[in-house]
Amino acid sequence: MINIKVNGKAYQLAVDPSTPILWVLRDTLGLMGTKFGCGVAQCGACTVHLDGEGIRSCISPVSRAAGKEITTIEGLDVKLGKPLEQAWIQEDVPQCGYCQSGQIMAAAILLRDNPNPTDQDIDDGMSGNLCRCGTYQRIRKAIHVAAKLRT
């Protein structure tokens, strides 16, 4: 049995400890907001927060989360999540939308650690999240907007 906390709720799970966190979230707990992209930690679509760090859930075994707290897109703190959501809508960021959950989870960490990021800071914080639609310019603009909305 593995004890984990997801979005504030405690769970005791009877799963193989090597199961990637992504599949525990999606298949066991039914939280579908986190997406499977590449499966080898290359694209960032599966980004969730583990004790505040933006881990790639597709290759992180659930054993790593034992006794820790996971936050998914469904449970993102409103102080970070709301401004990002508003900015994403205002700038009409998503195209197909598949990568956007991971994008927002990465952007939340960037804004938490650096409330007024420069373009370079955004590149440093976001270039690990791929977007096949190429919405990078809108993502960058929306992060600047979200930073202003938070102040």
Partner: protein, 221 residues
């Protein structure tokens, strides 16, 4: 009376001749005596020079052995498994061709990455099985920004000189340097996956220790 006088005169003559002979012989012998002293003196001087030569030769020999040990360890330092985390910039390297790490990953102040791109976000505590998976270690990181410990592009001479500079390594002593090489689990981890360095970890440690024990000589090039 006359007879006695003549006899005494003859005796005196003999004494004088004997004294002259002795003086002559002594004079003849003197140069040899001096030569002997000079020769003895020279022998001592030669012996002294010989002692200095042996010490110098021994020192030179040790220095050569020290340099040779470093040059062998250098092949490990410059192998991708070691070099990739000691890049000349702030982006780690990856693969056997030491290409820039994908995703524009950056060092960060503590060497553990930036924002949502921390090393440990992808690198797990252990190697993840399967192709193209990131290798793992519980403390995956680069050297911190204050001591970047750049290996990339350095000759053996430059690298050895750097290792002796505490500002370069961040280590207070060569003992700490040895400890990093011998005991740091992230260093040891580099000998467990992908293309292995040319020496085993124990052999590598032996060479590093030999380099230091024999004077930490700086290679010529």
């Amino acid at each position: 009376m006359q007879k006695i006088k003549t006899s005494r005169h003859r005796q005196l003559k003999i004494v004088v001749y004997l004294a002259m002979s002795l003086a002559f012989l002594s004079a003849l012998a003197m140069p040899f005596e001096n030569d002997k002293r000079v020769n003895t003196g020279n022998t001592a001087a030669v012996a002294e020079v010989k002692i200095i030569d042996e010490a110098t030769m021994e020192r030179d020999q040790l220095a050569e052995e020290s340099k040779a040990a470093f040059n062998e360890a250098y092949t490990v330092f410059m192998h991708p498994r070691c070099l990739n985390c000691h890049p000349s910039g702030d982006i780690p390297l990856q693969g056997d061709d030491s290409r820039l790490h994908t995703m524009n990953v950056k060092r960060g102040p503590d060497g553990k990455g930036l924002y949502a791109m921390k090393c440990k976000n992808c690198h797990q505590d252990t190697h993840v099985p399967g192709n193209n998976m990131p290798p793992g270690h519980f403390n995956w990181h680069l050297p911190p920004a204050k001591t970047k410990m750049v290996f990339e592009g350095k000759s053996p001479r430059q690298l050895a000189t750097s290792f002796k500079d505490p500002k370069f390594t961040g280590f207070k002593s060569m003992d700490e340097f040895i400890k990093h090489v011998e005991e740091d689990t992230l260093v040891k981890n580099s000998f467990t996956y992908g293309t292995r360095p040319p020496l085993s970890h124990p052999d590598f440690v032996v060479k590093v220790k030999e380099w230091i024990a024999k004077g930490a000589a700086i290679p010529d090039k």
